[in-house]
Amino acid sequence: MSKWLSRSYIGLVLTFLYAPIFVLILYSFNQSKSRGHWTGFSLRWYEKLFHNDAILNAFMTTLLVAVIASVIATVLGTAAAIGIHNMRKRSRTAIMNITYLPVINPEIVMGVSLMLLFVLMGIKFGLITLILAHITFNLPYVILSVMPKLRQMDHYLFEAAMDLGCTPLQAFMKVTLPEIMPGIVTGFLMAFTFSLDDFNISYFVSGDKFQTLPILIYSMTRKRVSPEINALSAIIFIVVLLVLILVNINDVRREKELRKKEDALR
């Protein structure tokens, strides 16, 4: 009974989260440009999507910025987390509080402040500023994800590796890194997700040559958002979903194989 209750609750919340997405996908097959008005099934928006350079370019830019920014943020943030972890408690607390600033700082303020900074420094808006800004707001998420893994890690592991012949660098690569990997992956995923969807900050620091998908979508709001964007979103959604499913299936299969191998050894 309570199991049934909990399941239907989860179902309800998931419905709440996915209902708009299904609407969005549904209307990507709509004949007309209208969002709320179903006139018939068609694939024309998919076809048009592949001829729309603006959208495709914006999509590529978005991906590029998200990948570069989240990778750099992950590297920088992981290094930072390690450094901070090794600090004394007081300086650690101080730095973590500042790290928390971008999280509690409204995005629009951050966008504006970065815009002011770049102008002051004389950096032209473009890919570079976009990436710099994205790294900046991604860093805290990486650090906040990696820190606890470092704290949970048995610090003797590092010594054990040195004991077995690793130089400090080798010990880091072969032991510390794999140990905190789940935290790093989480941090990267968070950073990537935030990057993909950021409008407020990107808006203020994007320049004349590159714009991200959210900005393009926002710019359409005088005329109206083209269903080609819906088509693109539908494709992204399906691809991500498939990847997730495949990864999951693969994991389960690998576990099963391992168990089988083990039984054979015994």
Binding site: P20, L24, A79, I104, I108, V112, P148, D197, S233, F237
Partner: protein, 271 residues
């Protein structure tokens, strides 16, 4: 081998891209258009206090709803098998990969008087219910967009609660409600704090949601700030002052909620 130096690029980065820019905003907020010192902007911000209170009010409602929705869900997740947990969490994160504007647009399609929901109720002869263009719709938009930020930290704290603690509480005489009150809630407090922050902050400063779902008549402080930087008047100084006000409000709210358990370690409450 305590290496601290690896943090230095980050520290430099923070100084350059977080501290200095915030300093710039603070500087702008106390100057006028000509660059002279002036507190006029803050005085002008005062005129907008109804908008500011409206923002806080709506953000609080949205945060509370998120908390109420997310809490049982996160608890539920945390008691499932590891495989299930991972799948469910990815399911929660997946919608965030879709564009935020598009998802909000889709809500319009759902909520409109002739929208899908009303049409659905129409089948049973109910409605139409007036849902769009109300502050309720704005709150819904906030809840929808920021719910994952509440679920994830709650979940991550709750997976760390040892089941034996729950048994210990039962053993000491707690029924399920008392277990919840005396063990689970206090232990999940850090997650609540993080979740509240992660929801309240963007909710109080959003402008897209209010514009799209609120029919434009539920102005929030985010709209105000956006208007100063991207509006007719183009008044970055006032915008900066409003931003500072917003930040102070957020800091105060955070301070209030954080007092629950003194200074909590905030790390790692995200996932």
């Amino acid at each position: 081998m305590k290496v601290k130096a690896t943090a230095s690029p980050y520290l430099l980065w923070m100084a350059l891209f977080i501290i200095i820019p915030l300093g710039l905003v603070a500087y702008f907020s106390v100057t006028d258009r000509l660059g002279n010192f002036s507190l006029e902007n803050y005085r002008a911000s005062l005129a907008y206090s109804p908008v500011i209170f409206n923002s806080i009010w709506l953000a609080i409602i949205a945060t509370v709803i998120c908390l109420i929705l997310a809490y049982p869900l996160a608890y539920n997740f945390s008691r499932k098998s590891a495989n299930h947990q991972r799948t469910l969490i990815l399911l929660i994160m997946l919608p965030m990969w879709m564009n935020f504007l598009l998802r909000t647009y889709a809500w319009m399609t759902l909520l409109e008087n002739n929208g899908l929901i009303n049409r659905f109720f129409g089948l049973f002869g109910l409605g139409p219910f007036e849902m769009i263009n109300t502050s309720g719709a704005v709150v819904l938009g906030m809840v929808y967009n920021y719910l994952p930020f509440m679920i994830l930290p709650l979940y991550s704290v709750m997976t760390k609660i040892d089941h034996s603690l729950i048994e210990a509480a039962q053993d000491l005489g707690c029924n399920s409600i008392q277990v919840l009150k005396n063990v689970i809630i206090p232990l999940s407090m850090p997650g609540v704090t993080t979740g509240v922050t992660m929801v309240f902050v963007p909710a109080v400063s959003t402008f897209v949601i209010s514009r799209m779902l609120g029919g434009g008549s539920n102005m929030l402080i985010g709209d105000l700030i956006e208007m100063q930087f991207l509006g007719n008047a183009y008044n970055p100084n006032l915008g900066s002052a409003l931003s500072m006000v917003l930040m102070v409000i957020i800091l105060i709210c955070m301070a209030l909620t954080n007092m629950f358990e003194g200074v909590e370690e905030k790390e790692g409450m995200l996932l």
